[in-house]
């Protein structure tokens, strides 16, 4: 990984959204029994060992049932997929396993099942440092993501960078603008009253800028995820996080 790009937040000044939220919300995230994300993690643990599809295989059948076999995986996704010749995120990886290994129908984006499984896999990396792969094939996609981050879009003519690089810690109406580090996805947003993926969050921001959101799973979103993860490299995974 190269040093921070020009215009980026210096590495020493990076903060997770956790640091910018109220103490009550922080306590909610830290207490496993108060964190609603735990409900999805437990559901994911159940799904993990359930056989599915015409192959009658469970996730545990290949990956083991230890509950820690996926440690560190969420910290390095999105990763390059050689068959598709493009990066894929964790939810897409889960669905590829589902269609190709289990011979089952793919889960819909933002469905309870895919959120539960990605929360279960993600929570196994809790406390680990985000470590984007040094794969050179990812570079063009990461650059696309960065360009999207800097691109002014929508009727408000805003870019991601204008809020999250230049004005973080200030307020946008009542809410504090975070630095946009995807440390805790999928996370429980109190506003959603549910767990949601990073793509749902990106969609929210695009709608807020009055830009047209991409379809779930669009390469643009994955490119943005890839760039955001490299921007947050070295920060600790908080999955499942809680955010206001």
């Amino acid at each position: 990984m190269a040093a921070a790009y020009a215009g980026e937040i210096p590495l020493s000044e990076r903060k997770s959204g956790y640091a910018l939220m109220s103490r009550d919300t922080q306590k909610m995230q830290d207490d496993r029994t108060a964190n609603p994300g735990t409900l999805w993690v437990l559901e994911g643990e159940t799904l993990w060992s359930q056989k599915a599809g015409s192959a009658a295989k469970s996730c545990a059948g290949c990956h083991g049932n230890s509950g820690s076999s996926m440690t560190g995986v969420a910290a390095r996704y999105p990763a390059y997929n050689t068959t598709l010749r493009r990066p894929i995120n964790l939810e897409q990886r889960i669905n590829i396993c589902r269609t190709e290994r289990q011979h089952a129908t793919a889960f819909a984006y933002e469905s309870k099942e895919v959120l539960a499984l990605s929360a279960f896999v993600g929570s196994q990396s809790l406390g680990r440092k985000i470590a984007p792969p040094a794969d050179k094939r990812l570079t063009p996609f990461r650059n696309t993501g960065r360009d999207l981050f800097d691109l002014r879009q929508g009727q408000l003519n805003l870019s991601c960078a204008q809020c999250h690089n230049d004005n973080w810690s200030r307020r946008l109406s009542g809410a504090i603008i975070p630095q946009a580090h995807p440390t805790g996805y999928p996370l429980y947003r109190l506003e959603w009253q549910s767990l949601g993926s990073l793509q749902r969050r990106l969609r929210n921001c695009l709608i807020g800028m009055r830009a047209e959101p991409f379809e779930y799973g669009a390469p643009e979103y994955v490119a943005l995820e890839l760039y955001l993860m490299s921007r947050a490299r070295g920060m600790r995974i908080e999955t499942p996080a809680v955010r206001p």
Partner: protein, 106 residues
């Protein structure tokens, strides 16, 4: 799916005030929200929560449509004797979800 998380201290001394935390997965559908076709989604909430301690009711709450999804309820009680705490959430459909936790009082 109904899934609940209960946080009760496993051990306590007699007379000690203990905090009990409960979290249950539930959509708490208000009945005021239209779906994508403009039709109202029928109300579906948990309307009652009861906690009994060895059969004696120690806490009860009525829940209303303005309460967020996945209700988190926390309360205090006095540890009197070893035994079982029973938690019952009852929904609009009249069905209940029951969860138990045991406590040792020395």
């Amino acid at each position: 799916m109904a899934r609940a998380l209960i946080n009760v201290p496993a051990k306590a001394t007699r007379g000690q005030v203990i905090e009990i935390k409960t979290l249950i997965s539930h959509p708490m559908e208000t009945g005021y929200r239209p779906d994508y076709n403009g039709k109202l989604v029928p109300r579906d909430i948990i309307n009652k929560f009861v906690c009994t301690y060895n059969g004696t009711e120690v806490f009860r709450a009525d829940l209303h449509p303005a309460i967020a999804a996945n209700p988190f309820i926390s309360f205090y009680t006095v540890a009197t004797e070893s035994g079982v705490l029973t938690f019952t959430w009852t929904g609009d459909d009249g069905k209940s979800f029951v969860e138990k936790a045991s406590i040792t009082v020395a």
